[in-house]
Symmetry: C2
Subunit: 363 residues, 2 copies
């Protein structure tokens, strides 16, 4: 037994008063910090810029670039456990932190999640979970060949650093592939088969230091301009199958913490993984007002070796993102008796910027 | 119309991103800061000692004695609104802060709540709400005379700075009065009639800048060693009458924010006010897991001129305080699917020290 979970099996949970270090300073770090505080933990934030959403509610912050290994090591030396709030933390930084204190999820989760080819290969070959057809693409001719194999339309994407629809193009013809290749080129790409899905769903699940797993029910997600717009849960459909697939991935990764698995669902109900996020996830924000342990507390419990607690929601909740100037509706939302408002402490409502979200209890 | 509420009637609510200053750095300040963060506010903490429960989750803290008027003024100058988390803030400090920015609740609430004679006189004479019989006591002979008028047993208390049963004694005989007087003497005292109550209940209610009021249902409280042990709400009994009395006091004080009113309930169901707390209150902690706006967010909404929102609980909740080494049960509590754990970031579980609480959803 050499896995992290195995090594920690039966280990003493991290007691209240311990210090949790978070790499990343955005809204996910903020909500993790708030949840950690409820359980009596102290939180330190590592991020490049001062005074961001997470640091506003943390006990301490260290500002340095993510790839400053000396700063990362110094930060980790003052913490009892390290986690991260976004998947583009350099994996070398996470490995450096791990020389000073436990890093959960393990840095390997970053390697897998940061590259779409590595991710899909791992999910399909190692975890044995269905993914969209894909081919790595290193030049324009690869792209054409991949399209002839996968069929058109298909989706050309950057392998790394894509999010919210950035770094991707749906291509319907071979000449469109050439145009898209020029726009996205100069970096490693992937061509993915277009999936004729009827809806997008996700599962937010966790695995603890001692191997305990827990999963919220199936979540239905609606995107707008390639960005998550609403999530509703529990939604109709077979939660069990999606949970089973998500937990297969968690176990294959020897994962510790909360992970989101996004699926395409086909007309026959079958599920194909679109991508995973090795962190708390926007599609899990509804859990904050569901009357059970929320995804932020669940992540803290998992990485601290606590019992995962109750993840069965008492309510059906609909989460709506407040993007850019949507946030200006806060006065109306504050009046709505079904609404819980969550704002991120960001000052400038730029277009496309996630400023907050609102959870509405439906039943 | 010269009251604070009247002057602000129709005023623009304080927008997210504004800075809320809290005088006091304990667990109530911590939970206020967490609630304020959810709504996108920044929080600054003023308290004598560094790194306390509230400062751990705040954007900034200033450490100075509460009676350092220069420091209080400097602190208030950097905030958009000031509030307080305990009632023993010197009223002169609150008035000093008010020269730099709005202080809510108004400093007058401190004057009233800090002195049991002023408090009971105000509640009875100005608000027209029943209180226990009482007499101010300036010497041993006053005490005897008061006892002959109010009857024995009665309760001798310090007029100021009493809490959790400290600074009081139940006296059953005139000679016991003399003994108790010697123990408590050297300060202004009050003798209160002993009320043969059948239970202790409280109401947590709020009044906003624009005069809107809101109240949670009736709460039943059980004390242990003179300290709150459990609160359950909603409890049986006529919530309406208790709410009506609490709101009469809020309005008589031209109060802004959350206030707790503690009542003795007699066998015939009638209610007598025991005391008020011009702040969020331990008997309102259950609201955090009741599926509505909780008392901390309600206070922030009230002092910022927001709509008060929904205070109708979706669940019946029982709150139990974790005092001293009770907190060592955190591992057991973390496993309980009905329990939500709230810890305060205090390191030393001294006897009688409130370390956290647990809310259990009963239905």
């Amino acid at each position: 037994m050499t896995t992290d979970a195995a090594r920690h099996h039966g280990a003493t949970p991290l007691p209240p008063g311990s210090t949790i270090g978070i790499l990343g300073g955005g809204q996910l770090g903020r909500m993790l910090a708030l949840a950690a505080a409820r359980l009596g933990f102290k939180v330190h934030i590592y991020c490049p810029d001062a005074g961001g959403p997470a640091a506003q509610v943390a006990d301490a912050e260290l500002n340095a670039p993510y790839d400053n290994l000396k700063a990362v090591h110094a930060f980790a030396s003052r913490c009892d456990v390290i986690t991260y709030e976004f998947e583009n933390i350099p994996s070398m930084s996470a490995r450096t932190a791990a020389t000073a204190c436990p890093v959960r999820p393990r840095p390997k989760a970053l390697d897998v999640a940061q590259d779409r080819v590595t991710e899909k290969t791992f999910i399909h070959d190692t975890a044995g979970v269905p993914v969209t057809g894909f081919r790595a693409v290193n030049n324009e001719f690869d792209a054409i060949r991949a399209a002839r194999s996968l069929g058109l339309p298909s989706v050309l994407k950057t392998r790394r650093f894509g999010y919210d629809g950035k770094g991707q193009a749906i291509v319907k013809t071979e000449s469109a592939i050439k145009t898209a290749y020029k726009e996205l080129g100069g970096q490693d790409l992937i061509l993915e088969a277009f999936v004729p899905f009827v809806r997008e769903v996700s599962v937010v699940a966790a695995r603890s230091v001692n191997g305990e797993t827990a999963s919220y029910p199936l979540i239905e997600n609606v995107h707008k301009n390639h960005m998550l717009h609403t999530s509703v849960a529990p939604t109709r459909g077979d939660t069990g199958e999606a949970q089973k697939l998500a937990i297969k991935i968690l176990e294959a990764l020897d994962y510790i913490g909360v992970m989101a698995t996004e699926f395409f669902q086909l007309e026959d109900g079958s599920l194909i993984v679109n991508e995973i996020a090795p962190r708390v996830h926007n599609s899990g924000h509804w859990t904050q007002d569901a009357g059970c342990v929320d995804q932020f507390e669940l992540h803290i419990r998992a990485i601290c070796g606590w019992p995962l607690g109750n993840v069965v929601p008492r309510h059906t909740v609909e989460m709506t993102n407040l993007v850019g100037t949507d946030v200006n509706d806060w006065q109306t939302i504050a009046k709505d008796p079904s609404a819980a408002l969550h704002l991120y402490g960001k000052t400038d409502p730029r277009p496309g910027r996630k400023m907050g979200h609102v959870n509405r209890i439906k039943s």
